[in-house]
Symmetry: C2
Subunit: 243 residues, 2 copies
């Protein structure tokens, strides 16, 4: 069954052992597969959305625009992530979301997700876990912006991405391909693009990590982790907790 | 039925019309009522917790400590909020939580919450909504730290608190009692205590808001909202969406 190998299934399996009922319900989430070009806007702040998406391939980013035209990227979404789960529960979406690369995603109706809670309560728990994990990442991002230096922010962000990609089978020990530009990094980390370049140069010169030509290459994971104060526990992805 | 008047019921009713089954299930969440002194630590980062709490009275704060001893407050919890919902889903808690004032809270076992999803799927949806709303607040907090000036951050934070307190029947049009110190505000907004005092003086001198002697008094909500770029839509609390 192909769905058993989807990135979402891989991710949720880090939390629960999924039963056949759970897998059948998840399969229904994947009926409406769609493709979107890089730059396509899937969710608009202030609009009402009746469906969310499950990202199967490619990268997306969620963000908020400020009245002065500045943008704060809230999070980066990769394969296996929900896009706009909050948008279907709320009257209007509190953020916007666009494709960073060409993406493949399954459209899920709000009613499909909510009905599934009655049919497959374990899956409801797994979805709540995934939403909680997303929140934990926003919390780490908040701590990054509030209390960490520019170098620590960048190191933390790259290590988090590495761990998230690994969970869904992307990248390897040495690094991963990364389509984000210096402008994305600036809007994620609350820095200017010039500052981003300086930070990446420092990390490279210190022999920790190189981000060049669309690839992140790690040279010293341990030292980078110490610099960032990175503790992957908040990602909670060390194999099923609910059996 | 007293539970019908609990702060959590009031809050969830902003999202769903609760059935008798939902109210019965919620009532079971409130069997273990406990009191904690101001400063008591309820949740410890890195520990495993089998129960969460529903705050009935008083104020709490969730935070993360950094290796250098700095603290970032992630959020403030008021009546009707879950304390440590993420802690019971995760292997280890990703944050700590302490009582700001003396608090009254109901202890809820993880199993109570998860079992309720099978018995009362609408309630599961309401709990997912509440968790999503908490995430939306962390997102706004993140935007505050990443892209807003110190004055905008403070204005946004005080207006958000006003709206949240109003939903559970605390405070009035003129303002609310607030037990937070300048040190809390500094750790919430990523500022120094000296900076917090300067920001509060500016807002007072501009005739927008006064925070003195444990009370926040609003003088010009509209102007404060414009300054903050505050749009309460992300709190999504304008009456039931699911009927």
């Amino acid at each position: 069954m192909q769905i058993a190998h989807s990135a979402l299934t891989q991710k949720l399996s880090a939390f629960v052992v999924l039963s056949d009922t759970d897998l059948d319900t998840l399969a229904r989430f994947h009926r409406r597969r769609r493709s979107f070009a890089a730059g396509h806007s899937l969710i608009h702040e202030g609009q009402n959305h009746k469906s969310a998406f499950i990202l199967a391939e490619g990268w997306a980013c969620s963000y908020k625009m400020l009245p002065d035209g500045e943008r704060q990227i809230v999070g980066i979404q990769i394969a296996g992530d929900f896009l706009g789960l909050r948008s279907i529960l709320f009257r209007t979406s509190d953020h916007s979301l666009e494709a960073v690369t060409r993406i493949e995603a399954s459209e899920v109706l709000a009613s499909d997700i909510l009905d599934s809670f009655a049919q497959a309560p374990r899956l409801a728990t797994a979805v709540l876990w995934a939403a909680s994990r997303d929140e934990a990442m926003v919390v780490e991002h908040l701590v990054n912006l509030g209390r960490r230096s520019a170098e620590m922010r960048m190191a933390h962000f790259l290590l988090e991405l590495r761990a998230r990609l690994k969970l869904v089978g992307i990248g390897d020990a040495s690094g991963f391909d990364c389509p984000l530009t210096q402008y994305h990094l600036a809007d994620i980390l609350g820095l200017s693009a010039v500052h981003v370049n300086r930070v990446l140069r420092h990390l490279r010169e210190d022999g920790l990590v190189t981000f060049q030509k669309g690839r992140v290459m790690f040279h010293d994971i341990a030292a980078l982790g110490t610099l960032a104060g990175f503790d992957p526990d908040y990602l909670d992805q060390d194999g099923p907790l609910l059996r």
